[in-house]
Amino acid sequence: MKRWAVLACAAFLAFPLAAQSVRGRLQGRIPSDAIPAVDSLIQFASQEGLPTEPLIQKALEGGAKHVAAPRIVAAVQVSLGQLRGARDLLVHAGDPPPVLSTEVTTVAWALRRGLPAPLVERVVAALARPPRAAALHAVADLVAHRFDADSAAGLIIEAVHDGVPQERLLDVSTAVLQQVQRGHTRAEALAIVRRDLPNLPAVSKPTRGTVAGARRPASPAQP
């Protein structure tokens, strides 16, 4: 009983604290008249178990680009709609609720990149959670290059089933695009790569010099 009381108090205190921290991130970054509406949209998302970070990022993006308040609110509203659509798609595809925030974000990404919802649902239903994000990006890369969506999805799903690790799924779409650059038609390129699965061309990793020359982003100056 005592434990439940402590948890209830913690939740009661945590929610306003989280809301306060969101407002703190938005304060001074977006027009002040947009903050109440954006904040309430973020609270809706939080109450529905949806990820809030994409909404915060959309608002910050609008503020950075000096977009007017109503357009920022509208864009955040659109993003919330995309997240809800992604959650519904995951449930429809067979993911047991509550769906994971990371999965919702992944599916929302795929929809934003222009993949048709039935195709995303097909990939989600065919694959376990870990390779989904990479698989959907690989399919989206091929669709963006005017490959047939169903064939592209079929290749990537087959690659996963053939044992291509998730960190190499983007190399599958790259290999297909390389075949097109060599003069093959899109259908031929898909067939060539499919025939060679799970073997893929060697991937160019960042050189030692590149890694050595890399730096971590500096802390941005506060406005």
Binding site: A75, R112, R168
Partner: protein, 204 residues
């Protein structure tokens, strides 16, 4: 130098009987034999002294390990180092090469869930270029591109957590430009397009 009669040698060596030599030679033989006996017999006092010293050394308790280590540390030791000049030169060359090639390469080591992102853009007239996106809360200043050889091509290589990010370039602090070299673009819901970078783990 006195020359000893050959017959004395023969008598001492037992090759000739003492009675076969004259009396004066027999006396000389007797004196030499007595002297030899005297030299052969060890002095009684010295034997006792050596034995007692050896036994005393044996009976002395062995020093402790710490004492032995301390004694080894404070005792001078001769170190003999034989060096072939050819090997020395080769070793020096290896050390010099290693030092030259690793100098200035102390970049950040990406962690397990980090990767490398490279931003490249061609802005010939620009004074400053920043990469701004979801990796830095859309705030300029944290990822500044550089044009070190003043050819108008601006570059930055950064370590970021693995994931998918939207971004744009901000040129001269006011002009928002998508990365035309990025293969992935997405509508930004504000009437423009953001570029997409997918950061993959550096330790693949």
């Amino acid at each position: 130098m006195n020359v000893i009669d050959q017959r004395i040698h023969q008598v001492l060596d037992g090759e000739l009987a003492a009675e076969a030599v004259p009396a004066e030679l027999r006396r000389a033989v007797a004196q030499l034999a007595a002297a030899a006996d005297l030299l052969a017999a060890p002095p009684a006092g010295a034997v006792t002294s050596l034995e007692s010293r050896v036994m005393a050394e044996i009976r002395r308790p062995a020093p402790s390990r710490a004492r032995r280590v301390m004694r080894w540390l404070v005792t001078p030791h001769a170190i003999i180092l034989r060096v072939r000049p050819a090997w020395s030169v080769a070793f020096a060359a290896v050390v010099a090469t290693f030092t030259l090639f690793t100098a200035g390469q102390e970049g950040p080591e990406p962690a397990e869930h980090e990767g490398i992102a490279q931003f490249v853009g061609r802005f010939p007239e620009a004074q400053s270029v920043h990469a701004v996106g979801t990796f830095n809360d859309w705030r300029a200043g944290s990822i500044e591109l550089e044009d070190q050889d003043h050819d108008g091509v601006w570059r930055a290589t950064v370590v970021l957590p693995t994931g998918t990010y939207e971004y744009m370039f901000v040129v001269d602090g006011e002009r928002w430009v998508p990365d035309h070299l990025a293969e992935r673009l997405v509508a930004d819901d504000f009437g423009r397009e953001n570029s997409i970078v997918i950061v993959r783990p550096a330790r693949r």
